[in-house]
């Protein structure tokens, strides 16, 4: 028996009988998640693009054969829970309103700017989560279109360290460079992908300078490509 066979055997030999998971809670949470996806799908679309709203809603809630990046929880919006399991009628929910200044990434999609901004969110049972970070596009007339919204689903949104990272899901009209935020005195954020180090661009949130918004240039990190690792360093190069 070679090493690989032994590894296979060991992985199987250590299987245990199924632990008892609370499937009632699983179904309850699954229903909530489904509802949030539908509401968020409506919320991310602009009023001017009702058709796009439907497309985004489908894309966020249902991507055939390919689950969404799961560490990035679905966007969360506050709304009464619909009793029906049918999709919420579009598009009565206004797009999320930016809190503080909008960060221009310098990335352009035609005439639109790729921008990042903090928005208010509400997560049931999580009073310490009140903000999320949105990736959107700003048109020349100032209209904002939210492509992806990431937020914590547990804990505290201002706890030190990295929070959720958003990756392109191919659901938006333009590719979304990977982005996220770090809480702390980061002066440099470096991602690793395929053994290569990639520096992120940084901007501090205008309402809380501890919140460091970061994103990766599409030329450096292809939108949708996942990082293998990420670290933050302070001004003296010390790892945070």
């Amino acid at each position: 028996m070679n090493e690989l066979d032994r590894l296979r055997d060991a992985m199987r030999a250590t299987e245990r009988s199924a632990p008892t998971l609370d499937l009632v809670a699983v179904i309850r949470e699954g229903r909530r998640l489904r509802t949030r996806r539908r509401i968020a799908g409506v919320g991310v679309a602009t009023l001017a693009t009702a058709l796009a709203a439907i497309v985004v809603m489908v894309a966020v809630g249902a991507r055939p054969g390919e689950p969404p990046p799961v560490d990035r929880p679905p966007p969360v919006a506050v709304s009464p829970t619909p009793k029906s399991e049918e999709p919420t009628p579009p598009p009565s929910t206004p797009p999320p309103k930016p809190l503080g200044r909008i960060v221009d990434s310098g990335v352009r999609h035609g005439a639109d700017q790729r921008v990042y901004y903090v928005v208010q969110v509400s997560v049931p049972g999580q009073p310490r989560v009140s903000i999320g970070l949105a990736a959107g596009r700003r048109a020349p007339d100032g209209t904002l279109t939210t492509d992806i919204l990431v937020n914590d689903v547990e804990g505290a949104d201002r706890s030190p360290g990295f929070h959720q990272i958003g990756y392109d899901e191919r659901s938006a009209a333009a590719p979304v460079p990977a982005f996220g935020y770090f809480v702390g005195p980061a002066q440099r954020i470096v991602g690793t992908v395929d053994g290569r180090q990639v520096d992120a661009r940084l901007a501090r949130w205008s309402l809380d300078k501890q919140v460091v918004i970061f994103w990766f240039e599409p030329a450096e990190l292809t939108p949708g490509q996942r990082l293998d690792g990420i670290i933050a360093r302070d001004g003296s190069g010390r790892r945070l």
């Binding site: 992985m11 250590t14 054969g65 799961v70 395929d194």
Partner: protein, 167 residues
């Protein structure tokens, strides 16, 4: 219970053990493994109407693995004094030895290497599918697998070897 929930419960009961074990192999942490499996099932349920007639298990597995891979930045904890199910004493001893060996060698791997090893050698997925599920290239799967196996070889003899040596 809504239409389809019965099917989902049946699916979840059948899939839970493997999902939890795969998560344990990737994390070395039973508590985290159960949380991850529960998260995967929640998300699978949320998409159930779409995937129930397709590859529901594959969907749940992808959700689980991506959830854990994306959570790499959280510190991994080990629980060396874990509970073991009731078994014959010899079986328990063997399993403990094997589990310790497995935990030690998998612990020497990076999160990505662990994910690739679990997908390739626990789920027996082909390299191309591993690459798709982790959104990386086939070349990266090959090179990472190779690196991981080198580490496994360097980690020393397996539990099986130890048991044979004791006989």
């Amino acid at each position: 219970m809504a239409r389809g929930d019965g099917e989902f419960v049946e699916f979840a009961q059948a899939a839970t053990a493997r999902l939890v074990h795969a998560a344990f192999l990737m994390t070395g942490d039973h508590h985290r493994a159960e949380d991850a499996a529960q998260t995967a099932l929640v998300r699978t349920y949320a998409s159930w109407s779409r995937i129930r007639d397709d590859d529901a298990y594959g969907y749940a597995r992808r959700v689980l693995v991506n959830h854990l891979v994306d959570g790499w930045r959280r510190p991994l904890r080990e629980y060396p004094t874990e509970e073991v199910p009731e078994q014959r004493r010899d079986d328990v001893a063997d399993e403990v030895v094997t589990r310790r060996w497995l935990t030690a060698i998998l612990g020497a791997l990076s999160p990505r290497e662990r994910a690739i090893v679990v997908l390739r050698y626990y789920f027996d997925l082909p390299e191309a599918q591993v690459a798709r599920e982790l959104a990386i290239s086939v070349g990266t799967v090959k090179s990472t697998s190779s690196r991981a196996l080198e580490k496994l070889r360097a980690a020393g003899p397996s539990a099986a070897d130890n048991q044979e040596a004791r006989r």
